[in-house]
Symmetry: C2
Subunit: 193 residues, 2 copies
Amino acid sequence: MSDTYHHGNLRQALIETGIRVINESGEDALSLRKVAAACNVSHAAPYAHFKDKDELIEAIKRSVTEQFMEELNDAVDSAVDSENAIIDMGKRYISFFLRKPDYYKFLFGRQNIIAHLKIGEETDEDYPPFILLKKTYLKYLKEKGIKKNRKEQGIELLKIWASAHGLAAIACMSGVVPPFDWNEMLEGDDLLR
Amino acid sequence: MSDTYHHGNLRQALIETGIRVINESGEDALSLRKVAAACNVSHAAPYAHFKDKDELIEAIKRSVTEQFMEELNDAVDSAVDSENAIIDMGKRYISFFLRKPDYYKFLFGRQNIIAHLKIGEETDEDYPPFILLKKTYLKYLKEKGIKKNRKEQGIELLKIWASAHGLAAIACMSGVVPPFDWNEMLEGDDLLR
DNA sequence: CTCCAATCTTGACAGTGTAAGGTTATTATA
DNA sequence: TATAATAACCTTACACTGTCAAGATTGGAG
């Protein structure tokens, strides 16, 4: 009947307006019906693209994670060496979520993307930010000529990641920018000791 | 009519069954009506004790935080000195939430208790776990005879807290126990560098 | 004994996720 | 070009949710 019976690109539209809602009012304000309405579509139309609400949320999470990865990739690309790359990744890790606190709660609040992560092993590391950190870290070790065994590497990687993530978490929770000089983290060859 | 018209201690019962629900099925499964039913009470009875659902959730959060504090207090009490107290606090910080991952998501997922935290200042630090950490840390500095100015103290405190919190977060998210030797965090006098 | 405040019940409402089944537009095929 | 198949979308319906208003019940203070 009407010429807009078919939306054309509903799936992407749902994801984008979903992100907008979360960014404006947080995850709690995200309802399938509201998102559908914002896309000028009936409240059950999303089910043509997503099995249920969780599947839409997961798609949105992937999309937000991609935004996050752009930030981290940019840090790596614009750094003069791997050491500065790691430092800048840490800074951006925090500033990204500090700029959008709702993203932090959304990504890490409920069931999240980091599903079956094996730290210190090379299997199943399917969380892109961690993969990038690990890659950069190994390059850093090589650049500096530092020798460490697998376990030591895993622990140090975890320390770096946990510090960044923890600071981001605290920053988002308290709304206070950590007075933290990230450079201190990577001084000398015993970083993060 | 019935001799159980008045529950007697409904408020506490709601909080306790709420905790049980979250512990068993996560925060998403927490509904006022179900909690009320579990207390053998009509679906609107909770409104005599809590303004709305958020107020019940906040009460539950306070209760869970108390459980958490018991753990941390026990760490401090059973430690031989402040250094070991901090180490054990970190271990328990992680093990507590690892034992009950739903608690982590519940406490830190959405709007959380850590509201207006001033790090490095002495006002408004109304988050009990942080207060305890700070107290223990200052005692540690005194025991070791370490001199640091306010800002340095704040940064170091934040590092310790962020590491513990970050590791707990990652552990809960990935379900993997961090292969992290907490003792390394506090070696020497430049801990966490 | 009376009154009152706290507590609980009942009933209603709008908003939610989602299942079932119908409708339209696009694409493939003959 | 005509038709069949499929994917995208719609309508209807239902159970469940949080919340509110109005009234019933109770225990305790005066």
